[in-house]
């Protein structure tokens, strides 16, 4: 299939203007250097043919939208109002480039500004950028910000941070050699006095995730109080949907808030594209990476939006930039902006509460199964760890035979947790799905 509109007469006309016999002549200088014709022949297809073939491939995934999924662990299935997809499908948004020409990019630029406002509101912070790749890379960039700002190398990390986020943090900071200090969780939460003891004169940042990887609600305010008079920056990673109920990073006195914005109207998409949220206080604005839109005016006083503070960025500053990031996840940021506009303050709080309600219903039912109990007493939002009497991997396999995606077996990340499963229930989980799960669990357990 081809999307090239040139007819043979068009090609002939262009070649004639150039005085060339054929298209191949345009590549003579390349051919003089490189042996060509070494590219393997991959077949092409018509749209109809390919659609048929891909239908067979797609079916190998099952119908994820029709199979109950009790798995979160950093990616969450939430209801997406139909209008969100309508808005992000507009070609004027989807097929635009970075808004370098502001006069014909006011749509994208104003969405950036509205998005920044909503992220500030969710996080309780003063400024936000127009998004990073995902939550994990936003956290990594936030740690680099804190290390630059404090000129220190110590990074105190909650042992209940998502292990993939920690892996990304390690990758991004490999060459600046942070000195990591890990605070092990006790009873599924990060003890605030252990955080206090871990801070010293070398500490650049304290990293806490709320709810943490076990789903537990962290003592974010207590940790913030310990850090209030310390030069180290307090980095709080928040699950945005939880912020309808849970304390915002700003209220917990965080200096930098990050989060995975996928739950805000973006499909699970087998891992991406997602949406990195990053917000901070005005004091740290100059160290913040990524695009930022600002409001201004034209010569006639009309309000408009531009990308601003670009002196931080790679295309101006090159090797002295705050980051090498050169894009944002704009279309995902648009989805989140539309999602939050549609939900409104009431709807947002309702979704948050529904998650809490459904997850607690599920936890109650699972904890009463024989040999099962909640691993921790800590409060949780929509995710919790269940102790099983058998290996979680076996339960996962049995449940999938019933067409259910179980909670996540934690032995995958921590061998000593092989009998634990991390369950999640969002507003998408129905009463019927819980019944189905419980029945299947009763079968699967000894």
């Amino acid at each position: 299939m081809s999307f090239i509109p040139h007819t043979s007469r068009d090609v002939a006309r262009m070649l004639a203007a150039l005085g060339l016999p054929e298209i191949e002549s345009l590549f003579e200088q390349v051919k003089a250097v490189l042996p060509s014709a070494q590219v393997p022949e991959l077949p092409g297809a018509s749209e109809l043919e390919l659609s048929r073939q891909l239908w067979d491939v797609a079916r190998l995934n099952g119908r994820p939208d029709q199979t109950p999924c009790f798995r979160g662990a950093g990616a969450y299935e939430h209801y997406v109002p139909a209008a969100v997809n309508h808005i992000v499908s507009r070609g004027e948004f989807a097929t635009a480039y970075t808004p370098y020409q502001a006069e014909i990019s006011q749509g994208t630029l104003q969405v950036m500004y509205e998005f920044q406002t909503m992220v500030c509101e969710l996080m309780g912070m003063e400024v936000a950028n127009a998004s990073m790749y995902d939550g994990a890379s936003a956290l990594a960039e936030a740690v680099l910000m804190a290390m630059r700002h404090t000129r220190r190398r110590g990074v105190v990390v909650s042992g209940a941070l998502h292990p993939h986020w920690l892996a990304v943090l390690r990758t991004y900071t490999a060459n600046v050699e942070p000195e990591f200090v890990f605070v092990p969780p006790v009873g599924g939460v990060t003890p605030s006095d252990a955080v206090r003891r871990a801070i010293n004169d070398n500490t650049a940042a304290v990293v806490v995730q709320n709810p943490n990887v076990f789903g537990s609600v962290e003592p974010v305010r207590e940790i913030g109080a310990h850090l209030a008079d310390h030069p180290a920056l307090y980095l709080l990673a928040a699950y945005p949907i939880s912020l309808g109920l849970l304390m915002s990073p700003g209220e917990a006195q965080a200096d930098i808030a990050v989060g995975e914005g996928q739950p805000l109207g973006i499909p699970l998409s087998y891992g991406g594209p997602y949406l990195g949220l990053l917000a901070t206080k005005l004091d740290y604005l100059r160290q913040m990476p990524g695009r930022i839109a600002g409001a201004t005016h034209d010569a006639e006083g009309r309000r408009g939006y531009v990308m601003t503070l670009q002196a931080r960025e790679q295309h101006i500053r090159r090797e002295r930039a705050t980051s090498n990031i050169c894009s944002n996840q704009m279309l995902c940021a648009l989805a989140a902006t539309a999602y939050l506009s549609l939900m409104g303050p009431d709807g947002f709080r309702t979704v948050s509460e529904q998650n809490f309600i459904v997850a607690h219903e599920l936890a109650g039912r699972l904890a009463s199964l024989p040999g099962c109990s909640l691993a921790f007493d800590a409060p949780f939002f929509n995710e919790f760890v269940l102790d099983l009497p058998v290996a979680a991997e076996d339960v996962e396999r049995d449940l999938w035979q019933d067409g259910i995606v179980s909670g996540l077996p934690l032995g995958r990340w921590w061998p000593q947790r092989r009998n634990q499963m991390l369950f999640c229930a969002t507003e998408m989980i129905t009463e019927a799905a819980i019944h189905r799960l419980v029945a299947a669990m009763e079968e699967a357990l000894p």
Binding site: M1, G107, P267, R302, P345, F356
Partner: protein, 503 residues
């Protein structure tokens, strides 16, 4: 159309219900300690669905996209984005899949990722690819971290990366982020890497050279094999920035040029939409000796189907929480399967033909940065027009009034008053001709009525915006009472315009 934000459209109490509130025992929330609860709710807009759709539809109408018209932004490959990849990306079998699904429940996804990796490896002459990087810049970081690890594990740590002066800004920024010192290699008068100067920069400290080929001037680096040979001889690696791969795709391979590591921009060469600045995808290919360092996870074929390979002792680690921008990779996979190698060969052929034709038509009135044939893009310099008091920025703004998105301006930095034009393969000859006519008209206007250019654009919802004011009186979020105060000491950019590059 007004510039009112969504926040100004709200009214207390207005709402649309998407998720019904379930009945609950009030005591349930007692399980959440008071100290852990939110105090001030987020001030989100209170609007109905109709208002939201109308608001964002009106904002969409203030935006230019490939769907709207010609978008000849150099180095960005703003080609038509086919719709089948979009449709398939919306199939729930793909888009509703959780990234941590059991592998037996994700065999379709793993097959797509596995086959995309194989196709990209074959198109680039690389041993393997990682699909994890979320954008070109993250791909660069991935590649340079692998280069760093390679040298370190050989007990030969190296700290210098050579970047030509015509390179994209991300190249030096990435090298710095990966912990290298950046040394700039000046171009020769012909716009290519100066071999003598390169020789003088090479040493046992050099970890790699980062190159785009064709380079940002749209010129093919003829000495590419010699460049790679020299770098290899000095013990360094050759990194290929695939931003300009649209010029060569289906015909030539970075592997044969001598490159060791390659990143591609799926949102450029492989037809996925740019999304207003993202999400994109920047897969990275490597030769065998870098393969152990690829980020995790990778997909491999096992005896019982496809598997996730997470256990790689030499890996640089993870770049994203999950496997990268899978839904973008899927779109590129569909594009690749539609076109096949022969379709891709037609892509590079038509892209290079269109660029040369347009260059030929425009050089009657504009001076090219370099004479002779170009690849998929070319750079003009508005120095002649500048003598009449008209700058590249003015030409760009006037183009908007004539119904075109402007080219990239003030980039590459090595060309004064640069206009960098990339027509791509998907524009009709009529569009190319109409654009050429507009550019020629502007060249005449620059001499006869320059005020038209200085006052442009007139046809847009706003005129030229005050960027200095934006950076000084920072207004970065909406507030009920208007902007917050705060002075900024942002260093102003080059007067009158900023370099525009790609992502």
């Amino acid at each position: 159309m007004t510039a009112d934000t969504i926040f100004e459209k709200g009214k207390t109490g207005r709402k649309t219900l998407y998720v019904a509130a379930q009945e609950q025992q009030p005591s349930l929330f007692d399980q959440l300690p008071v100290g852990a609860r939110r105090r001030r709710p987020p001030a989100l807009p209170e609007v109905t669905e109709g208002e939201v759709v109308r608001h964002y539809t009106n904002l969409a109408r203030k935006n230019w996209g490939v769907d709207v018209g010609f978008y000849p932004l150099g180095s960005c490959t703003m080609k038509y984005n086919p719709r089948l990849p979009e449709a398939i990306a919306a199939w729930p079998e793909f888009c509703a899949a959780h990234p941590l699904r059991p592998v037996r429940a994700a065999q379709g996804w793993l097959r797509v990722l596995h086959d995309t990796e194989r196709m990209l490896s074959e198109l680039c002459g690389m041993a393997r690819f990682t699909l994890q990087p979320a954008a070109g810049a993250q791909g660069e970081l991935c590649g340079m971290l692998m280069v760093r690890r390679y040298h370190a594990e050989r007990g030969d740590p190296r700290n210098v990366v050579i970047v030509p002066d015509s390179a994209h800004g991300t190249n030096p920024a990435t090298a710095a982020l990966a912990g290298f010192d950046v040394v700039t290699c000046p171009s020769s008068p012909s716009g290519l890497v100066d071999l003598d100067k390169l020789r003088r920069l090479l040493s046992d400290k050099v970890a790699a050279i980062m190159l785009t080929n064709p380079n940002t001037l749209g010129l093919f680096e003829r000495d590419i094999q010699e460049i790679c040979r020299l770098v290899h001889e000095a013990g360094g690696m050759a990194y290929y920035d695939g931003a300009n791969f649209n010029a060569l795709v289906g015909r030539f391979r970075p592997g044969e040029m001598g490159f060791d590591v390659v990143h591609l921009n799926l949102h450029k060469t492989f037809g996925t939409p740019h999304g207003g600045g993202g999400p994109g995808s920047g897969p990275v290919g490597v030769v065998d000796k870098l393969e152990p360092f690829l980020p995790t996870p990778l997909v491999r074929k096992g005896p019982d189907g496809f598997e996730i390979d997470d256990n790689r002792p030499h890996t640089i680690g993870r770049l994203n929480a999950f496997g990268g921008n899978a839904l973008i990779v899927l779109r590129a996979y569909v594009y690749l399967r539609l076109l096949g190698t022969s379709g891709l060969r037609d892509v590079s052929g038509a892209a290079v033909l269109a660029a040369n034709y347009l260059k030929h038509r425009l050089t009657t009135s504009y001076q090219p940065s370099h004479p002779g044939p170009c690849m998929h893009e070319f750079v003009l310099t508005a120095t002649q027009q500048k003598a009449d008091g008209v700058r590249a920025l003015d030409i760009a703004k006037r183009l908007i009034d004539l119904g075109f998105h402007p080219p990239t301006i003030y980039f590459p930095l090595t060309v004064p008053e640069a206009l960098m034009i990339e027509p791509t393969e998907t524009e009709t000859l009529e569009t190319l001709d109409a654009f050429a006519e507009a550019m020629l008209q502007i060249a005449r206007e620059a001499e006869e009525s320059p005020h038209l250019l200085h006052a442009a654009p007139q046809s847009t919802p706003v005129g030229r915006l005050d960027e200095v004011a934006a950076a000084k009186a920072l207004d970065l979020r909406w507030r009920p009472g208007g902007a917050e105060g705060g002075d900024a000491d942002a260093s102003p950019r080059a007067p009158g315009g900023r370099p525009t590059t790609r992502s």
